[in-house]
């Protein structure tokens, strides 16, 4: 990717993201957010974050793979459990990467 297009991309993302962050803080300083919009926005984080996580874990080699052969699925399952119980980022990372390397080393 050329340096110019990389910079333009970064600036576009930065500008767009700043607009998102500023949106209501700037505009609706004198108004309220419609209830439906607020409700809908609440589901953006879980939907989008899950959309980023699950394909990486459930897909292997370009296709959906839910067998125990899918090392990432196994490692991801352990990491999910740790994330749920501890809410600790470091532990989640360590568990996921640890299980992944362990399985790769053994099998």
């Amino acid at each position: 990717m050329s340096s110019t297009s990389l910079w333009l991309t970064i600036l576009a993302i930065g500008f767009g993201t700043f607009c998102l962050r500023l949106s209501f803080i700037h505009l609706l300083a004198r108004a309220t957010v419609p209830a439906l919009l607020q409700q809908a926005l609440r589901f953006v984080p879980p939907a989008v974050l899950a959309a980023l996580v699950l394909p990486a874990i459930l897909r292997s080699g370009g296709a959906i793979d839910v067998s125990p052969d899918n090392v990432r699925l196994v490692a991801g399952a352990f990491a999910a459990g740790v994330a749920w119980w501890t809410r600790n980022v470091l532990l989640t990372l360590a568990t996921g990467m640890g299980v992944l390397w362990l399985f790769k080393a053994i099998f």
Binding site: T9, G14, L28, P46, L54
Partner: protein, 240 residues
């Protein structure tokens, strides 16, 4: 008005336990950027200009796969759509502030700074309305600095240490660590499951369209689940 130091310190104190979790995230973000071929200076600039870890990581992944810039921008903005939610949620608390305050406060908006602030504003010890932004500023600026320093450390590491292990699995893992705290009720879980399922099935679609579909279906499923829960509850109470 003099700086209300107590309120500012509260903000810093409340974000402090979360900082150790931000450090690895920032470092991975920096390492991944450099490993993807982004020059260190540009990587640091991205960290400062965008200041959004999940979007930065997704962008880096897309650079590696050679996606179109337009796709990268759209993907990043969909991922960052949640900042609009945070903005909507915090706006009432900053209503009284002049623009020169609101713009920097908006720039520093981040998941954890938001979470800490909204918790204090809605459930915590009372803060004077004209001091709330100081609490948020304390939390947000410390987190911002931590992120930038961690990213810089990661960029430096990535530039000087050859990539020996495959760190690319660390990226979905950090997303997972961000995802779990958002699953606060059944409707959110349903939104997540739907979004995740659609994204998995639609992963082959061009232009990363799968992510857009996942967001739409996930939000829709969440809204549906929530309305069904309300209807069930209302019916249950009517029958008593």
């Amino acid at each position: 008005m003099a700086i209300p130091r107590r309120v500012l310190a509260d903000g810093v104190r409340d974000i402090a336990p979360i900082l150790p979790g931000i450090v690895p995230f920032g470092m991975i973000s920096g390492i991944a950027a450099v490993d993807a071929g982004i020059p260190p200076g540009t990587a640091m600039a991205m960290s400062l200009i965008v200041y959004a870890g999940a979007a930065q990581l997704a962008t880096v992944q897309l650079i590696v796969t050679g996606a179109l810039p337009v796709v990268m921008v759209l993907t990043a903005l969909i991922i960052n759509l949640r900042f609009a939610m945070y903005s909507a949620s915090l706006a009432p608390h900053f209503r009284h502030l002049p623009l020169r305050w609101r713009w920097p406060l908006a720039y520093m908006l981040a998941d954890q700074a938001y979470a800490v602030a909204i918790t204090r504003f809605t459930h915590g010890e009372h803060i004077l309305a004209n001091q709330k932004h100081w609490y948020y500023f304390g939390a947000a600026v410390v987190m911002w600095a931590t992120w930038q320093l961690s990213s810089a450390a990661g960029i430096f590491l990535g530039a000087n240490v050859p990539p020996t292990w495959s760190l690319d699995f660390a990226i979905p893992l950090t997303f997972m660590a961000l995802l779990v705290p958002t699953l606060r009720d059944n409707a959110a879980v349903i939104a997540a499951l739907t979004g995740g399922a659609v994204a998995t099935i639609a992963a082959g679609l061009p232009f990363n369209f799968g992510l857009v579909l996942a967001a739409i279906f996930g939000i829709g499923a969440g809204l549906l689940a929530e309305s069904m829960r309300h209807r069930h509850r209302n019916r249950h109470e009517a029958n008593r």
